[in-house]
Symmetry: C2
Subunit: 462 residues, 2 copies
Amino acid sequence: MSAIHQNVSTSLSASTSTFLSHNNLKSLRPSHVSVAGRMSAVVKCVATPSAEKTAYKTDVARNENLAKLQAGYLFPEIARRRNAHIAKNPDAKVISLGIGDTTEPIPEVITSAMSKRSEVLSTVSGYSGYGAEQGEQKLRAAIASTYYAGLGIEENDIFVSDGAKSDISRLQVLFGSNVTMAVQDPSYPAYVDSSVILGQTGLFQTDVEKYANIEYMRCTPENGFFPDLSTVRRTDIIFFCSPNNPTGSAASREQLTKLVQFAKENGSIIVYDSAYAMYVSDDSPRSIFEIPGAREVALEVSSFSKYAGFTGVRLGWTAIPKELHYSDGFPVAKDFNRIVCTCFNGASNIAQAGGLACVSPEGIKAMHEVVGFYKENTAIIVDTFNSLGFKVYGGKNAPYVWVHFPGRSSWDVFSEILEKTHVVTTPGSGFGPGGEGFVRVSAFGHRENVLEACRRFKELYK
Amino acid sequence: MSAIHQNVSTSLSASTSTFLSHNNLKSLRPSHVSVAGRMSAVVKCVATPSAEKTAYKTDVARNENLAKLQAGYLFPEIARRRNAHIAKNPDAKVISLGIGDTTEPIPEVITSAMSKRSEVLSTVSGYSGYGAEQGEQKLRAAIASTYYAGLGIEENDIFVSDGAKSDISRLQVLFGSNVTMAVQDPSYPAYVDSSVILGQTGLFQTDVEKYANIEYMRCTPENGFFPDLSTVRRTDIIFFCSPNNPTGSAASREQLTKLVQFAKENGSIIVYDSAYAMYVSDDSPRSIFEIPGAREVALEVSSFSKYAGFTGVRLGWTAIPKELHYSDGFPVAKDFNRIVCTCFNGASNIAQAGGLACVSPEGIKAMHEVVGFYKENTAIIVDTFNSLGFKVYGGKNAPYVWVHFPGRSSWDVFSEILEKTHVVTTPGSGFGPGGEGFVRVSAFGHRENVLEACRRFKELYK
């Protein structure tokens, strides 16, 4: 694990400064090299320490949407701060309950399937080259029958992917730059950042800490982490994650019925992220397609990452019902198929062999054990913060615990916890302005680390 | 292999009709369901055979860029025609020299590394979760030293990916919709199609078979398959593939020096696709970075697909020099890093273990053997068409043979060959209007199949 984290550290050195506002960068450059011009472009940059460096610039304008981004992607920034802390405290035993990275081994029934698939690739009969961009048909069928039995989702509605994050970006490419979007606030940062990159938003409004043209649906303890839809502006796309990352809260059947109705009234498309569905303990829906009528207004993104520890193996899927149509009647799935064929070449065949093992009876049992282990961790963390008198949310239906520090800055609390306990968490405000005053504690960790982290929390906040 | 191809067949059923102009689709729909309107949207579609089908439509407008695409992605369409042919001729022994899919087993030194990595993922000490989005540092370093030694490309300039096609699309997202682009004509269709999807182009001009706003750099036998740059309009981005898919031709050092100079004069960025570099037999450059000054104007996309048979395993990389800057001085690599962190989660760790084995001394030797085998196939195909009196191009530095059928339609020749010899090729016009009158024959195949295909070619064209 430490080798991986060292990799993160080294490889992110280049991205560190992008966490600063990009506009700051300009002031670091000597002004005399900022002159544009094709023929005079090779200019010795004598004012910089490295006198050898030339300051040639192409005439290609930087993508203005990337310039809108205010910071580096949240999780590399967390990793950077973690590594800076380690550098400053080389003897500290740092525990990561931050980026939501799985820690437990992948069940052997799954790894042995991947190992076998790897091996047969060196045989004439077992070799396979390009697979279908949409995924191997057996896996598509198995995902449909495992997660969507009786819900009207069939194997050809399943597009196998290299993970939910990649699919979110492909969905943004699918919808293009002219759509409007809504997100839960707080929410997984890939929704907003990919929307900015695709040009769906205006500039970042520093006063409210929101991008213009995105509808932020505030989710707070007061509304049970389900937005007050009567105050939500109509948008084309509604990103909705349940069980939610980061609040850990799962929407009820009644709430999701309201959401589907809201989408239908507005002619919107819901992009439903169900990556934590197997963590649901009560009767909250595991899929948006449990809600009648949802197939006409929703598609669903999911992943094996948090079920089977596939965060490094990379495998997920998107389900797009045949009933989902654009305003001109064109099926959304047909355009997504074109995106997948043009911009992707299918998930790794080895990972797909692992996916097939995941949804075998033995694999499902093994995944439930993995999920069960992390749920025990969650209960330990919830109990700890409860015993310390904090208001604690989430945890029941998701591997995330959302701890309230009223009136305090999330980043301050993050730093305080890191400094004083050597435990990495995630500041709530990294998920949107609605996360301010909260810290997300992830339940992904070895048991002894979770117990030790909780001991340290008790020491700090006793 | 046949299982894979059946998968392609089944899974592509949904995409088949997208090969027709999308405009045709509208006329297939009863006009009474094309009425927009939020509240009246659930309408029984009584005129269709399936009376149960509802015709609800969201109010989300279809991405107009996707509507510009004239046809399905080329290679799924080839697979569709292949499968239709098999259905019509169930007893025919069909041979695929079409989509460029590798057929030979992956060397064992590589698969055993992937198998081992799979296995250790089920152990506490060997498990790893999220890796760096940019790839494992050891692999980045090994790619840099294997392919770019002495060329000024270092490990942090390498972004490991799930393949060149995915990276081409991520590069389009990087550049955004306001750039102009040039492509070789003919060229690998992902460049043009992804440009259309990102909104960089105008409509398809049926008279010239080109998208408006793309500069098509014609590559013909007359100009040695290197464009006459004096007639090429300035664009922001220049896609350039060498050794070329589909013409099989590699640009010389002198030609690439001219290209780099042209880019510099125009302030353009070259996206250089070197996915076939290991097939170079003569002293043509293997990397654009062999050309002095290229680091200021070019980035390079590459892949293990055609070296190690990784078309199904999925692993590639993009090298972006630190010296490559936008017009405002911002480093291109920094924005690409942000794209990779936001829209991607790294290549599968198992595939990366395979990549590391690829660039070990043993792995490099094994890859050269695989490449050598396909090069022998290429020579057999070249000899066959030469002996039949055809003008044949490519083959020397690439696994593709570009056969001229002057005055004939590529699709007609494709169909003639498929009908009469049961051999699948690729019609040259599928790569752009400049490919009309040509057929691409791929050298990826088992030896006995290549020999048998050549016997059939001799029978047909004797």
